[in-house]
């Protein structure tokens, strides 16, 4: 390390600062050599147990019974916890609105989303815990399901929680200025309806928790890759029924990405802590990918109607927002924060004085939502910036002119928005001017015109957004009425903390509670502090692990709302300056000069006027240890300084619901050119330009890294990613083969441009930059696609199938005589038919179909068949579909018996991997050669884990399995091989699955 630093020093000119340089990251060497210390890389106490979680296959069902007896007897199992056990050890998690509703980290009596924990199995290793999970027998009684936020509003929708009005957890209206008057007098009212989908930034490292309980002290010790905000610590200690000082929450040194998502680990902290208490041993749980995609957390999906009162020249006079936010099955802290994070910024980058808002929060049978990069921004800007594009189209104006015409004026900062945000600084007009010139908009327009002249589908999209950072901890209380807020007490601010320590040999350590997940905080802090002390970054050691029992922290601690550069790094600067100020006093006294004459340069503290009059930094800095008596009076120690910093601008919402929801407001102007292939309807990004003003840039390469990373995630959200649910609430995207993240083949390199307008409100002038492209890019691409296709209605993700409907119209009906293929979304039922010929009489086939011994022999994977009555059978079968193989208990009932001609089989199957139900009609007809022709039609539906990860294979697998059944029936009857109506396709599939022989 020392050599690398020496190398660095060569390029560091005297008098220049480390801040602003792209120095190599201190984090990289260990990460590149396999020496990272992520949670699953750390050793645990001997005797630590491992947890697996059994999860609900149903989106909405009562739990009739849970039989854990077999699981408890399973090898290695120490404890099995169900909802009842967890409720006896913990208290419900708090809910973010005032309502008599409980929120447990495990299902209690009822499941409300696919993937909701139903039991926790604790065993000596994870494999044994998962073995035991398969042995738990849960009986469910399914309830009607509601997955769509607007459907959830309907009076006859199934109700998830009795404590809410219907499914509405919150319904608030806001009014700023005089929107009614503005709409009444405006020349135009232009509206747009938006459905923003569910997605997630999906870190590659999943959740992890290691929990221990000390009964003697009634205290928990938890290690988790939780990212904050540490306001959740209060939620956790309350749920675990201990005071905060008896919940020690620690974070590992490294965390494999989060993007907000790892805030959502907190219900599992409660669950695993409860398991550790029940097992009286430490318990470790590492989430797997299916669990993560199905049930960790996601961004909210939102239905928005946005209207603008617009003048003839495109000036927006007022906005009317109607937002219906879908928070999934439970309103977990800090939700409904996604809906309120942008409340001060509902007018975007525009000067709009009149505003009307209706915000409703609904619960549906989907995974509960939480933090996700952009947090509320993508949902708001998708509506706002689509509307701006529509205004241009409907009024026949240039979209960029409409943007320019409405921007906040350059001289207006700090600018108070209609709903209360204080936009700190900026020059939006200049940013756009530079973006247009340096980004080559004129050339891009020429490319578009040339492409269109050739008949190609090419479009250009624009967006201008304000990127908020450093959240006001009080913004979430805007969901409460002023009266409720008065009762609850004020909430506001954003306390950041930093501690500087100096040891006896004068080496400097920094600690902050920023909990990075890969952003390079340690490197930037070493730059910031090195500048204050006249040292090099390699002289500074930075620790960003957080231990709530030993470290300085506040409820605002953590890694979210892009608060590191503006708040945390600035606080470290303030802490270093406090110590430097005292060191300057000591130096002045030692060097016989004034404090004003002291400078920190190149490892020394000395006189500016006489540079030879100096003392080494380390000698001076160590004095507080070695000889406190030698310090001048009143200086105090220079060993350790902790600074808490909160900006005064972040005040609580006022009685008129004005809220300065964030401290800093960067500006982003994006434009892009896209081409849509006329044949494949794939969208290709031809050029993407993103202009950022994030205030002072501390480390240019890291800022560009944040922009590129956010852009790639936003590209995924725009083109590929959606957490898809079937109407029955089955989760359909449980693997990375179903939930498609962009790879090297899909992500282009955007052109990144910068200008720097420092924030007057932060110590370093920096603003947040981590989330902006997640807000600006999805709608910029959508605007370009809308331009290319000349269409109004654009829903994300822009998959070819959706664009096909726009370009080619809805798919025509299938030709007569051919059944429509199973639709992939919406209707997941499997339908099929086939035929087999058996060399036996119809009477004999009939007898075989009703004989348990024959059925046991011919049903694929059957263990045994039990005849409960003449028309009621029970079977145990093992079936494999794609990667999922599991044991199912099937009930089969016969009806409409017409011996020996026809019978209807109705049945259901349930197992650890999912459930299914269906009905089939079998008809028998004699053939000319004395055999029997069996014709069958069936319709089935399948849900649970198998739907999440094997969904693409279900159709084919069902055909194969049913084909196998009749093939072996034919063999059993001594007949010929069956012939099937879709012979070649089925034969191919059968080879694929290795069945049918």
């Amino acid at each position: 390390m020392a050599d690398a630093a020496g190398h660095l020093l060569d390029h560091h000119e005297a008098g220049s600062t480390w801040v602003g340089k792209s120095i190599p990251r201190v984090e990289d060497a260990s990460l590149l050599s396999g020496r990272g210390r992520f949670i699953d890389d750390l050793g645990v106490r001997p005797g630590t147990l491992h947890a697996a979680i059994l999860r609900s296959p149903h989106a909405h069902a009562d739990i009739v019974s849970i039989d854990i007896s077999a699981a408890k007897q399973s090898p290695g199992v120490v404890a099995v916890l169900t909802g009842e056990d967890v409720t006896s050890l913990t208290t419900s998690l708090v809910v973010g609105v005032k309502a008599p509703v409980e929120c447990w980290p495990i299902a209690v009596g009822r499941v409300r989303y696919v993937g909701e924990p139903v039991a926790v199995i604790v065993a000596t290793d994870r494999y044994l815990a998962e073995d035991a999970a398969d042995l738990i027998d849960v009986q469910y009684r399914p309830r009607p399901v509601v997955c769509d936020p607007l459907a959830a509003l309907s009076p006859d929708a199934p109700v998830l929680h009795d404590g809410f009005k219907g499914n509405v957890a919150s319904d608030r209206t806001f009014r700023y200025g005089d929107p009614e008057q503005a709409f009444a007098s405006a020349a135009h009212r232009i509206s747009i309806d938006i459905r923003y989908p569910r997605n997630s930034c999906t870190p590659i490292e999943t959740y992890g928790v290691v929990a221990d309980y000390d009964a003697g002290e009634d205290a928990y010790d938890v290690l988790s890759n939780f990212q904050g905000p540490f306001s959740i610590h209060a939620v956790l200690s309350r749920a675990l029924r201990v005071p905060g000082n008896r919940l020690r929450l620690r974070t590992p040194p490294d965390s494999g990405g989060s993007f907000g998502v790892k805030q959502g680990v907190f219900p599992y902290i409660v669950l695993i802590a409860a398991a550790a208490r029940a097992a009286d041993r430490p318990v470790k749980w590492i989430e797997d990918r299916l669990e993560h995609l199905t049930a960790s957390v996601s961004a909210t999906n939102r239905a928005t109607t946005l209207s603008a009162a617009v003048s003839d020249d495109g000036r927006i006079l007022a906005l009317d927002w109607d937002q219906v936010e879908d928070c999934g099955a439970h309103l977990r802290a800090p939700e409904p924060a996604t809906l309120y994070r942008m409340h001060g910024n509902l007018t975007g980058a525009y000067d709009i004085r009149h505003l009307k808002v209706r915000n409703r929060v609904v619960v549906t049978n989907k995974t509960p939502t939480g933090l996700n990069r952009g947090f509320g921004g993508p949902q708001v800007y998708f509506a706002l910036e689509r509307l701006v594009q529509r205004i241009a189209v409907e009024l026949n104006l240039d979209p960029l002119d409409v943007i320019r015409r409405n921007l906040v004026a350059a001289g207006a900062f700090p600018y108070r928005t209609a709903s209360g945000a204080l936009l700190d600084s900026g020059d939006y007009q200049e940013a756009i001017r530079r973006g247009v010139v340096e980004g080559g908009l004129a050339a891009l327009k020429a490319r578009r015109d040339a492409a269109r002249a050739q008949g190609r589908l090419y479009g250009i999209g624009y967006t201008a957004v304000v990127e908020p950072s450093v959240s006001n901890m009080g913004y979430i209380t805007t969901v409460l009425t002023p009266a409720e807020r008065r009762k609850a007490g004020p909430k506001n601010g954003a306390q950041a903390t930093a501690t500087i320590s100096i040891d006896p040999v004068g080496s400097v350590s920094v600690h902050v509670s920023s909990v990075p997940q890969g952003q390079g905080h340690r490197t930037v802090l070493s730059q910031v502090v090195a500048d204050v002390f006249g040292l090099t970054p390699s002289d500074i050691r930075v620790n960003t692990e957080l231990d709530t029992t030993k470290d300085a922290w506040s409820i605002a601690s953590g890694n979210y709302a892009s608060r590191f550069a503006p708040a945390v790094a600035g606080t470290a600067k303030l802490a270093a300056e406090r110590i430097a100020q005292r060191l300057a006093c000591i130096a002045a006294s030692q060097l016989n000069t004034e404090v004003d004459d002291i400078a920190f340069v190149a490892g020394h503290v000395g006189s500016k006027r006489n540079p030879d009059n100096k003392v080494s930094f380390s000698r001076l800095a160590g004095l507080s240890h070695w000889s406190p008596g030698a310090l001048p009076d009143g200086v105090g120690q220079t060993i350790r300084e902790t600074v808490f910093w909160t900006p005064p601008e972040l005040t609580a919402p006022d009685d008129a619901d004005h809220i300065n929801s964030s401290l800093c407001h960067g500006f982003i102007f994006d434009f892009c050119g896209v081409e849509i292939d006329r044949v494949t309807l794939q969208t290709r990004i031809d050029r993407y330009v993103t202009m950022h003003d994030c205030g002072t840039i501390l480390h240019p390469a890291m800022v560009d890294g944040q922009i590129r990373g956010g852009f790639a995630q936003a590209l995924g959200a725009a083109l590929y990613e959606e957490f898809a649910y079937a109407p029955d609430g089955s989760f359909l995207t449980g693997t990375f083969a179903d939930y498609l993240l962009p790879t090297t083949m899909e992500v282009p390199d955007p052109l990144i441009l910068h200008m720097q307008t420092p924030s007057p409100f932060t110590p370093l002038g920096a603003k947040g930059v981590g989330e902006g492209n997640c807000m600006s890019t999805p709608v910029c691409i959508a605007n370009a696609v809308a331009d290319a296709l000349a269409t109004k209605d654009i829903d994300l993700p822009l998959v070819p199938a959706k664009l096909a409907d726009i370009v080619r119209g809805a798919e025509p009906a299938p030709p007569a005589g051919r059944a429509a293929d199973t639709k992939r979304t919406g209707d997941r039922s499997l339908r099929g038919e086939g035929q087999a010929t058996v060399a036996a009489s119809a009477e004999r086939v009939w007898a075989m179909l009703l004989d348990p011994a024959t059925l046991q022999a011919v049903i694929p994977g059957c263990h045994h068949v039990e005849k409960l009555s003449d028309t009621h059978f029970r079977a145990e079968v093992t079936l494999g579909i794609g990667p999922v193989k599991g044991r199912y208990r099937a009930e089969v009932r016969l009806s409409d018996l017409d011996p020996p001609h026809a019978v209807t089989l109705g049945g259901s199957a349930e197992g650890g991997l999912g459930f299914g139900g269906g009905e089939g009609r079998i008809t028998l007809a004699p053939t000319a050669s004395g055999g029997t022709s069996i014709h069958y039609v069936y319709e089935a539906a399948i849900g649970g884990k198998v739907a999440s990860i094997g969904g693409r294979l279900l159709d084919g697998a069902a055909r194969v399995i049913i084909g196998q059944f009749f093939a072996s029936l034919a063999r059993q009857a001594g007949g010929a091989a069956p012939n099937r109506s879709r012979g070649s396709f089925v034969a191919k599939l059968r080879r694929l699955f290795g069945g049918g022989r």
Binding site: P24, G34, T206, G518, G709, A712
Partner: protein, 173 residues
């Protein structure tokens, strides 16, 4: 391969990063769990356990392989290399690692081990890959932090350096 009995541990003898290594594994034990939790080599990461994200990529007999889709028992007699093999010595970085550091080709570093192992295999077989080849080869890896561009740049730089087009001083960690 001889028939292994479920539920019993069987010896696995293989070469790990050039040194002989012996462990015991039940037939169902994944290579990822074996390497990480039995051998203690935690540099190989687990991101999806279904072979898509690529974080667990190791080299088995010179070819990149998903350790999460490989059973420990399958590497008996094989030559396995992991990210821990890439640095020439403690405190120094190899050419590829140094190029990643220079180009800020990692942020959280969780997917990085797998990407490095894939590129290491690629560059051994194809010393001068072009950008299209590298992009194609890395399409089996998911990175959520970087947007890939710096990774591609680092790979191109490392390839040029290894092929002798550029020379750099030894890079210290």
């Amino acid at each position: 391969m001889s028939r292994l009995q479920a539920g019993r541990r069987h010896p696995v003898r293989f070469s790990l990063n050039g040194k002989p290594c012996t462990g015991e594994a039940e037939p169902r034990l994944l290579l990822t769990d074996f390497l990480r939790h039995q051998i203690g080599m935690t540099g190989t990461h687990v991101g999806c356990e279904h072979g898509v994200c690529g974080a667990c990529t190791v080299s088995i007999d010179g070819s990149p392989a998903r350790a999460c889709l490989t059973l420990a028992a399958q590497v008996d007699g094989c030559e396995v290399r992991t990210v821990e093999s890439l640095a020439p010595s403690a405190g120094r970085l190899g050419i590829l690692q140094a190029a990643f550091k220079r180009n800020h080709a990692l942020q959280c570093g969780f997917c990085t081990a797998g990407i490095l192992m894939s590129l290491d295999c690629l560059l051994r077989d194809h010393p001068r890959p072009d950008e299209a080849t590298i992009r194609d080869f890395l399409s089996g890896h998911l990175c959520r932090c970087t947007g890939y561009a710096p990774i591609i740049r680092a790979a191109l730089e490392a390839a040029a350096e290894m092929a002798g087009d550029v020379s750099r001083e030894t890079t210290h960690a």
